[in-house]
């Protein structure tokens, strides 16, 4: 066991972890933040995506010890002040059925739209190409993002 400290959604948190503890498990089980989801555990599906120092990463492929002293933002942090505008567009367009992929999608888009606030549809597709959705066929998700971008 060793103690690590990092900023989680703007607050300093300290926690005891083993070297082989994954960031995803520590966030969910030790720190109670259930927004990153466990899907494939091997980087393929994107449901566990969080921001590490502002950049999207797969929390299922990162050891908790690696983020000692770093800054982590999850969907919990992104929507701290209530639903974000983008989330409202997801609701408007029914961009989920089971909703399992949504946290990863929103976190991924958070980084992407900051870098590229006026993307075209192709760029949006590329941005979420690493996030799998088993239910919607992506059409309503892309529609929501394009509508959001148009009205911003």
């Amino acid at each position: 066991m060793r103690k690590i400290s990092f900023i989680l959604n703007g607050e300093k948190r300290s926690v005891y972890v083993e070297p082989n503890d994954l960031l995803l498990d520590v966030l969910r089980d030790k720190l109670g933040d259930k927004t990153p989801k466990y899907g494939c555990g091997r980087g393929d599906c994107g449901t566990c995506t969080v921001l590490l120092n502002g950049k999207s990463v797969r929390s299922c492929l990162i050891l908790a010890v690696e983020v000692d002293g770093q800054e982590i933002t999850t969907l919990e942090g992104i929507s701290k002040g209530g639903l974000t505008e983008l989330q409202k567009y997801f609701l408007k367009h029914n961009s989920f059925q089971c909703g399992f992929c949504a946290p990863g999608m929103i976190v991924t888009l958070e980084e992407f739209l900051k870098k590229n606030p006026k993307p075209d549809e192709e760029e949006v597709k590329e941005a979420i190409s690493g996030n799998l959705c088993r239910c919607t066929g992506y059409v309503p998700i892309i529609r929501a993002v394009m509508d959001y971008v148009k009205n911003k």
């Binding site: 082989n20 995803l24 498990d25 980087g43």
Partner: protein, 298 residues
């Protein structure tokens, strides 16, 4: 069940190169270097690797360097694919590397995955392979006994095998700058956009003066140059009959296998088509025409 790692190991994070060298000398094969972890963590989860010690190199400032000095580009071991994509020097002076980097997985993987981790994992399908081979990159290896440089064309020994010795690490990669007009193309066949490894990858570099460099990945045990194809093409203008001859020759140079991702026959068929499209795109780009870099050719 979540994605826990049942294997236990010690985690070390050296602050500088001396500490890293000390750890490697001490632990040798018991240790594995942890860079982005996008390959290693999956391997540990799957039980293919069970190191006693993980040495995280992300605390060493020197390894984060990405520097161009007019003659060559140095890519430190901790430089990620997204850092390469975001670099103006890479986009403008090494477009083949830029295009290949864009083809790797998705943003969230590329925010962690490093080019050096890619060559050290040495899978046959590594996307950085063809570009580095065409550019004749040099790999800088370091250990307690000093430094040596190995041409990337001699770096890979087999699937997941490289010339790296047990107490050595890759410090970085040095890519010479080609100071003549050139055009290039990386053509990657994957099953779907995002996250997929190459079923076939072909990297082409055409330098003014009719010099052709052709390399492939995922269609042999290691990524390699297609020397016979190059010999055929060198000194000649590209035309349809030459392309037909080249397509016949590439078949002799590759030895694809059938696996869960594609059959051998499909790979051979696609390698020919991709060679054709890549050659045309590279020559067009050399002449200031052709598709933009980053645009998919297949």
């Amino acid at each position: 069940m979540s994605g826990v790692i049942s294997h236990e190991f010690e985690y070390l994070k050296p602050k500088n190169l001396d500490e890293l060298v000390d750890f490697l000398t001490q632990y040798k094969t018991k240790a594995k270097i942890l860079s982005g972890g996008t390959d290693l963590i999956v391997r540990i989860k799957d039980g293919f690797e069970s190191p006693e010690v993980l040495i995280d190199i992300k605390g060493i400032g020197e390894l984060k360097e990405l520097k161009f000095n007019g003659n060559s580009l140095f890519i430190g071991a901790s430089v990620t694919f997204n850092e390469l994509i975001d670099s103006e020097v890479v986009r403008e002076r090494y477009p083949l590397l830029w295009e290949a980097s864009k083809s790797v997985a998705s943003t969230a993987i590329r925010n962690r995955a490093t080019l050096v981790g890619n060559i050290c994992s040495a899978v046959p399908s590594l996307d950085s392979g063809p570009a580095l081979l065409d550019y004749e990159a040099e790999v800088i290896l370091k250990s307690r006994n000093g430094e040596r440089k190995v041409n990337i064309n001699e770096f890979f020994l087999g699937p997941r095998k490289t010339v790296l010795k047990e107490d050595e690490f890759v410090y970085g990669v040095l890519i010479p700058f080609i100071n003549r007009k050139n055009g290039s193309a990386y053509v990657k066949l994957g099953r779907y956009n995002g996250e997929d490894l190459a079923q076939v990858g072909i990297g082409i570099l055409v330098v003014e003066g009719k010099e052709y460099r052709v390399a492939h990945c995922a269609v042999g045990p290691v990524a390699a140059r297609a020397r016979k194809v190059e010999q055929l093409l060198n000194g000649k203008d590209l035309n349809d009959s030459l392309i037909e001859e080249a397509k016949k020759l590439i078949v002799e140079e590759i030895s694809p296998i059938t696996d869960i991702r594609a059959t051998k026959e499909y790979r051979i068929h696609m390698a020919k088509i991709m060679l054709e499209r890549g050659l045309k795109a590279a020559v067009d780009r050399l002449n200031g025409k052709g598709p933009k870099y980053g645009e998919r050719l297949i």
